[in-house]
């Protein structure tokens, strides 16, 4: 365990010009959350509410020949039973999944509840609403489903075989834009080409070619999915949902149920973690249909087993990588094939894996082939920097191998090849102003990296990571109150303190304390359209909307003060919460005084803002980890960890550090122990927190953080998304550390104790 030497919070550089930004206020929703008063998804209780439970497929791959619900319906206390037949025909309509884009509706409906075929263990097939959760569970046992079991397809490469069993007879490969001649489990094959590989490899002095694999892993949020629906006889449907995007739920449910969007209000509850997994809908449309049938409110809460069985793992993947470097450590060429599991329906995040893979480096010649492949596992969902850890793991491990061949410092090779503004990325888009070099330099110069690591079976690993981040649409409504405070309503659900990081940007504009901004996350009827909390975009984009709202309120206040003082508005300023004339007559009043005056006059000051910013800037991170390997058991202990990251501008440094630390620890879990373990029948064997081994507090040292600030020119305060990139480097950093500790390179994740022992015995 790391000694407690770093207990002092790491201070970041804050420019003097900001009064609020860069400070560490207590979050606005904090008291609710430390007292147990905050209402999360499963905490919703309504009069007459029923409890819904979902029956799930015991098979990984099976035709559903018939479902008999008669006995379940007859059980005392059961008020409604449903199957996929209760959903309207999806036809060829599409649905919007925010960060994941536009997708066909039919697979989304089928994923919510299987119509003719179950394509993974735990796939929903029917549901019951009853007066207690126990009765609903008893009723599930009375539903009779006749399955015809089919062979499961569990491995991405085997699924790509021409003779593999097919998940969907009507799925044809989109092969570089052309439809394939025969159905396949490969949903798409796409490619990015830059430069000339032949030339690039010819210029290399050393070429390596390796395979890398990532097991299927889960986001692991502690709060299971929960949705409560109340469908009124007048056709209006209200839903309380724990989600990353109330509007995304509204869109999905209105499309699946084919009801007008105006009849549906989604009220987001507090959300107990998401990491990308709470973007798709699961129990939401089910709760709605059960409520319509039962004519009572229905709450559908998953248990942990259901969360593992049927919700968003991220893609298991196969990556083949070939890279060449010169004796001086310059990367001359990289060729890669990425095959990502999509789960039971098309739509893995392989495209983002491709975009991010080489982004930390300026490489002249690259070719990236990307395959989206269906397998009999749950439909994958986004997971923190979706797609990027799988592909960047390969690059970062191979770079370290080159470092050993060339006897070069891992920071040096990264600086030598590091991406800069204007460099053309592998998909043809030039980098904007980015902090790749600055981040790597800060890692090179940090105390941790400069301190030698000593002792047997110990090694230090380094890896970098890139995440593209997202912009997308965000809205806020801000209103000035008579006491000079500002009520701020926002559409972004708050998973990690964003009420405050958004409010801070508005407070900065007006020069008022952040405590004078009262933020709340509101329902879909009460604020403008807002995309999901994802893509590390909320502090960036919703913060920008709040900034604009602040500017609008500021100019309204200046106008009103000018009116009071009968001067031109150009002669009024607002700073530090005080309005003053600038024409030399020294008149002034506080913002609070003006607010009280305007309130009495009945003049409303406020603004509604919607933004869709484009220049979100990419995020870079470089991590340093020290490990110790027990060569007898293969167990890897994390001795020390430092994460360095470009935040653009850290609005609330504590929560930036928190994102970095949380991302690192998810990466450590992914690296060492987390995996979906399927048996030969394709059944998930470890659907519990006992056997799906996420890190506990005892498995970790303190996670040291260094925030680098290379302001993003695409944001008024220079903000870059910070949430996702810290999950990218840990896997490779740890693999590299193991290699340097005990001399074995592991390219398959997780690097579990038995995998380490196996590698060690193969070496000796």
């Amino acid at each position: 365990m790391n000694p407690t030497q770093t207990l002092e919070p790491v201070e970041t550089e804050v420019e003097k010009k900001y009064k609020v930004i860069g400070t560490r206020p207590i979050r606005h929703d904090g008291v609710d959350k430390v007292t147990g008063r905050a209402v999360y998804g499963a905490d919703v209780q309504l009069p007459g509410m029923l409890h819904g439970k979902v029956l799930r497929s015991p098979h990984a791959h099976a035709l559903i020949k018939s479902i008999d619900t008669e006995k379940a319906e007859a059980l005392y206390g059961v008020k409604a039973v449903m199957t996929a037949a209760d959903f309207p025909d999806a036809g060829s309509r599409t649905a919007n999944l925010g960060e994941l884009g536009e997708v066909p509706l039919k697979p989304m409906c089928d994923n919510v509840m299987a119509s003719d075929k179950a394509v993974y263990h735990g796939h929903a097939v029917a549901a019951v609403a009853a007066t207690s959760p126990h009765i609903a569970e008893e009723a599930l046992k009375l539903i009779e489903v006749d399955y015809e079991v089919l062979p499961p397809v569990m491995d991405v490469l085997k699924a790509m075989d021409e003779d593999s069993p097919l998940l969907h007879e009507d799925l044809y490969t989109d092969e570089l834009g052309e439809k394939s001649s025969r159905p396949s489990n490969v949903a798409s094959h796409s490619r990015h080409v830059k430069g000339d590989l032949g030339e690039g490899f010819a210029a290399a002095d050393h070429v390596l070619e390796r395979e890398y694999r990532c097991a299927t892993v889960h986001q692991g949020y502690i709060e299971p999915h929960a949705a409560t629906a109340m469908w009124n006889p007048d056709g209006y449907l209200t839903m309380w949902v724990t989600t990353q995007g109330a509007f995304a739920v509204r869109t999905s449910v209105h499309q699946i149920l084919d009801i007008p969007v105006s009849r549906l209000k989604v009220i987001p509850t507090e959300i107990g973690g998401g990491f990308g997994g709470k973007i798709p809908v699961y129990g939401e449309p089910v709760a709605a249909v059960l409520s319509r049938k039962a004519r009572r409110p229905v709450k559908v809460v998953m248990d942990r087993t259901e969360v593992f069985l049927a919700t968003g793992p991220t893609s298991g993947s196969y990556v083949k990588l070939k890279m060449g470097v010169t004796n001086q450590g310059r990367i001359t060429a990289a060729e890669t094939m990425l095959a990502y599991e999509a789960g039971g329906y098309p739509g893995s995040i392989v495209a983002l894996g491709g975009i991010c893979m080489f982004a930390p480096y300026n490489i002249d010649n690259t070719t990236i082939d990307m395959y989206d492949v269906v397998v009999n596992k749950p439909k994958t969902a986004a997971y923190r920097a979706p797609g990027a850890p799988n592909s960047e793991f390969a690059v970062e491990c191979m770079l370290d191998e080159f470092c050993q061949i060339l006897d070069m410092d891992p920071m040096e090779i990264r600086l030598k090849n590091g991406a800069k503004e204007g460099d053309i990325q592998s998909h043809g888009i030039p980098h904007p102003r980015i902090g790749c070099i600055e981040t790597t330099e800060a890692a090179r110069d940090c105390e941790h990296y400069r301190t030698p690591l000593e002792g047997p079976n110990r090694g230090r690993g380094v890896a970098s990571g890139y995440w593209v981040n997202a912009g997308l649409t965000s809205s806020v409504t801000a209103r000035l109150n008579g006491d000079g405070t500002v009520t701020l309503q926002e559409g972004s659900t708050d998973i990690g303190g964003t009420r405050t990081s958004i409010a801070m940007q508005l407070a900065e504009v007006l020069g008022i304390p952040v405590e004078d901004v009262v933020p709340s996350v509101v329902d879909t009827d009460s604020v403008g359209y807002t995309e999901v909390t994802g893509g590390s975009r909320v502090t960036f984009a919703t913060g920008w909307a709040a900034y604009n709202a602040g500017q609008a309120i500021k100019s309204q206040l200046i106008e009103q003060a000018a009116e009071v003082w009968k001067v031109d508005k150009d002669q009024v300023s607002l700073a530090d919460g005080v309005l003053a004339t600038t024409n030399g007559d020294s008149r002034s009043m506080t913002l609070k005084e003006l607010a009280a005056d305007l309130s009495q006059k009945g003049i409303d000051v406020g603004s509604r803002e919607t933004v869709t910013p484009q220049n979100h800037g990419g995020a870079y991170a470089t991590h340093v980890v020290d490990v110790e390997v027990d060569p007898d058991t293969g167990k890897v202990t994390i001795l020390r960890y430092t994460a360095v990251q470009d935040a653009g501008r850290a609005i609330h440094p504590s929560y930036v550090e928190g994102q970095m630390q949380g991302g690192v620890v998810q990466g450590i879990g992914w690296a060492l122990n987390e995996e979906y373990f399927y048996n030969e029948d394709g059944l998930l064997m470890n659907a519990s927190f006992l056997d799906y081994r996420m890190p506990t507090s005892l498995d970790l040292p303190m996670i040291e953080t260094i925030i680098v600030e290379v302001p993003n020119p695409g944001h008024p305060y220079g903000v870059r998304g910070v949430g996702e990139v810290p999950i990218v480097p840990p896997q490779a950093a740890i693999s590299n550390a193991i290699a340097r500790a005990v001399g074995v390179r592991l390219g398959d994740l997780p690097m579990s104790p038995q995998a380490v022992v196996k590698a060690l015995s193969a070496k000796s």
Binding site: G36, Y40, H134, I222, G273, I495, G496, G663, T696
Partner: protein, 160 residues
């Protein structure tokens, strides 16, 4: 159906009587019958600690205690932590240290921290990590949680 049992317990200092089905866990009773939803269900099998409460002075997972078992017992939940003088020091240090992100594990961690510091007021970082291994957090990487518990120690000492 099995008949309900009558249970009389002291919950957050108040005498409470309720009827529950024998199959209802203490967590279900707290949340569904007594409307104390501050204790959370994360796993329902004793592997995440989100439902941690203090039963007769011992930290337990309420999901693997039957409601019927607490007859005659004392139960402390997150709802009872705030006294007349305001937030408990642990609640305050969790806020000051940004020791929560999504907050779903927070009530369980605070109850775990309370039970620890009552037993070991000078718990070290290692003691805290060991004690809290049954409480999962997926957001914070535990760093700021450990610091928050350490920070509460001198404040609790002063209170004594």
């Amino acid at each position: 159906m099995a008949s309900k049992v009558h249970v009389a317990a002291t919950i957050n200092g108040e005498p409470v009587e309720f009827l529950c089905e024998p199959r209802q866990s203490l967590l279900e009773v707290l949340r569904d019958e007594l409307k104390l939803t501050g204790s959370k269900e994360g796993c329902n099998n004793g592997n995440c600690g989100a439902c941690s409460v203090i039963l007769d002075g011992l930290l337990v997972d309420a999901c693997i205690v039957l409601g019927a078992e607490v007859d005659g017992c004392t139960v402390e939940t997150i709802e009872g932590l705030m006294g007349s003088e305001g937030l408990h020091p642990l609640q305050q240090t969790f806020l000051e240290n940004a020791a929560l992100q999504c907050g779903i594990c927070t009530p369980g961690f605070i109850m775990a921290g309370k039970a620890l510091l009552e037993k070991n007021p000078q718990a070290s970082e290692g003691d805290i990590r060991h004690w809290c291994a049954g409480n999962l957090c997926r957001c914070t990487g535990y760093d700021k949680i450990v610091r928050a518990i350490l920070d509460a120690e001198p404040q609790l000492e002063v209170k004594k």
